[in-house]
């Protein structure tokens, strides 16, 4: 599903963010990307979204080399990749329903499709009764659920989550992880960058650890730190 082939990313300031990284993620996997701040996790995610270009190496998403993708096709790549962030990125002046509908509206989906799919997905994330609430009326965990619903409403092949539990307390984080796990079981490939060790240890999924831009560990049923 995702293949990162000897990718190096050097920023203009000659900071090496990723150094000859080679990773392959299969369809349906759930992968944690761990490592300290500045280890290259965010760069990794930005490269997958083609927000940046690798300095060397190639990246394949769903079998296609995204380096060869022309600019006007990038939006279509992103329709296959859902994104969830630490800060939720919800629009404060829109209701929960409108926030999720926005993702479908701007890719030109018909109103009937939106009216059908949005309540469905909000039901899936457990917010079926909060369609008309505004984000600031929701708890942090609920806001993150809205953002997951928005990322998932278009049924992407891949879900990228960049520190999705970074702003949440531990028990809320567990709920979010349950939700991501559920989405993964439907068949979506999930890649989650985090430094929440409790979560990584509890889930026992594949762990890829970055340090100073290099992959220093790739373990099938790993924990946050070294050891089994």
């Amino acid at each position: 599903m995702i293949k990162v082939d000897h990718v190096t990313k050097v920023y203009k300031s000659s900071v090496v963010a990723l150094d000859d990284v080679e990773v392959e993620i299969n369809k349906g996997e759930f992968v944690f990307l761990v490592g300290p701040s500045g280890s290259g996790k965010s760069t990794f995610i930005r490269l997958l979204l083609k927000e940046e270009e690798p300095t060397r190496g190639a990246i394949y998403v769903a079998g296609k080399n995204i380096g060869n993708l022309s600019t006007w096709k990038v939006p279509y790549l992103r329709r296959n990749i859902g994104c969830v962030f630490q800060d939720f990125k919800l629009l404060a002046e829109r209701t929960v329903f409108q926030n999720v509908a926005f993702a479908l509206e701007v890719i030109g989906k018909a109103k009937q499709v939106i009216d059908q799919r949005v309540p469905e997905i909000l039901d899936l994330v457990g917010l079926g009764d909060k369609l008309n609430n505004f984000p600031d009326e929701l708890s942090g965990g609920e806001q993150q659920r809205v953002s997951i619903a928005r990322a998932f409403v278009n049924r992407p092949l891949i879900l990228l989550a960049d520190e999705p539990t970074g702003n949440l307390d531990p028990s809320t984080s567990v709920d979010i992880m349950k939700l991501l796990d559920r989405i993964n079981r439907i068949g979506t490939t999930v890649l989650m960058a985090t430094h929440d060790n409790a979560i990584v240890d509890a889930m026992r999924r594949r762990v890829i650890e970055l340090e100073a831009g290099k992959v220093i560990r790739d373990q099938a049923r790993g924990v946050y730190g070294y050891g089994t």
């Binding site: 979204l49 600019t71 006007w72 939006p75 279509y76 790549l77 992103r78 329709r79 296959n80 994104c83 990125k89 629009l91 926005f102 993702a103 509206e105 701007v106 890719i107 030109g108 018909a110 109103k111 928005r150 990322a151 278009n154």
Partner: protein, 292 residues
């Protein structure tokens, strides 16, 4: 498609309302610029109307001496007909000249009464293929017996045209400068709109909205500003015409004055320029400030 249209409409209206004052500045600059530009076009039109009327598109008048013989007259006509610069030649008798004189000075009856047909010279009215070729025609006819005077009709209107040109080019130049600042202001409102909605734009990019989908509302927003300004300029020009130009019609009856139909040609030009300039300004603003 209907849903898309609905979306664009909503975004455009909310964008224009959000930046009320800046939008007003942009629209009013477009208005002033196109009002002046339209004014220049209409001055030009009026000048041409007067030229056509006064000279009846005749560039050269060859006035004949009263005692000219028929042979001499035919000889001159022959020369004129053979010249490649000449498009057509018409003979105007003393009576015909008097008829035209009466029309020209219809509002000065004393003058008409004191002049008889005999006092006016007969002439050949010559239309040139190229109006600039007056000198070469004169050179050929110079010295032919029976000619009293060869006059460049456009010379008569030279002063009028000099003044009209000063107005036309002066006003036109100001209009162009204003148009440049108008596009700067429109670009600025588009930039502000982009800034106000940067979070939405970020999300749109993330969920895979195409660049054009993201840009269209801002483009429409810019073009609507241009259109409103241009529309106001058209209305303004008609108001000026009704209020100030039409009353002149009763005072100077012998000169043709711009009619509404003569102004219509300027309407699509003004609206088109307004929308086009605003659209280009918006696109440039987006290229510079929208990182997609």
């Amino acid at each position: 498609m209907a849903r898309r249209f609905d979306y664009f409409l909503r975004e455009t209206v909310s964008g224009l309302r959000r930046n009320g004052l800046v939008t007003f500045a942009a629209v009013s600059t477009v208005f002033i610029s196109l009002f002046l530009g339209g004014g220049a076009l209409l001055i030009n039109r009026q000048a041409n109307l007067m030229l056509e009327f006064t000279t009846n598109k005749v560039e050269v008048a060859v006035y004949l001496e009263d005692g000219i013989s028929l042979d001499q007259q035919n000889r001159i006509q022959g020369i004129l007909n053979r010249l490649p610069e000449v498009a057509s030649v018409d003979y105007e008798s003393k009576e015909e000249a008097y008829g035209r004189f009466k029309v020209l000075f219809a509002n000065q009856p004393d003058l008409v009464l004191n002049v008889s047909a005999d006092a006016l010279p007969a002439s050949f009215r010559v239309k040139l293929a190229d109006p600039e070729k007056f000198e070469s025609v004169r050179a050929v006819l110079q010295g032919e017996p029976g000619i009293e005077k060869i006059s460049d009709q456009r010379e008569l209107l030279r002063q009028f045209f000099a003044i009209a040109n000063v107005f036309k080019f002066g006003v036109g130049a100001v209009a162009i400068i204003m148009l440049v600042s108008a596009s700067g202001l429109i670009a600025n409102t588009v930039r502000m709109a982009l800034f106000a909605r940067r979070k939405e734009i970020g999300i749109m990019k993330l969920v895979g909205a195409t660049n054009w989908f993201i840009r269209v509302p801002f483009l429409i927003e810019g073009m609507v500003q241009g259109l409103i300004g241009a529309g106001a300029a058209v209305v303004g020009l008609f108001v000026i015409k009704l209020g100030f130009v039409d009353p002149l019609r009763n005072q100077i009856g012998f000169v043709p004055i711009l009619r509404n139909a003569d102004m219509m040609f300027a309407v699509p030009i003004l609206l088109g320029v307004g929308v086009l300039v605003a659209g280009v300004a918006s696109l440039i603003a987006m290229r510079r400030f929208l990182d997609v």
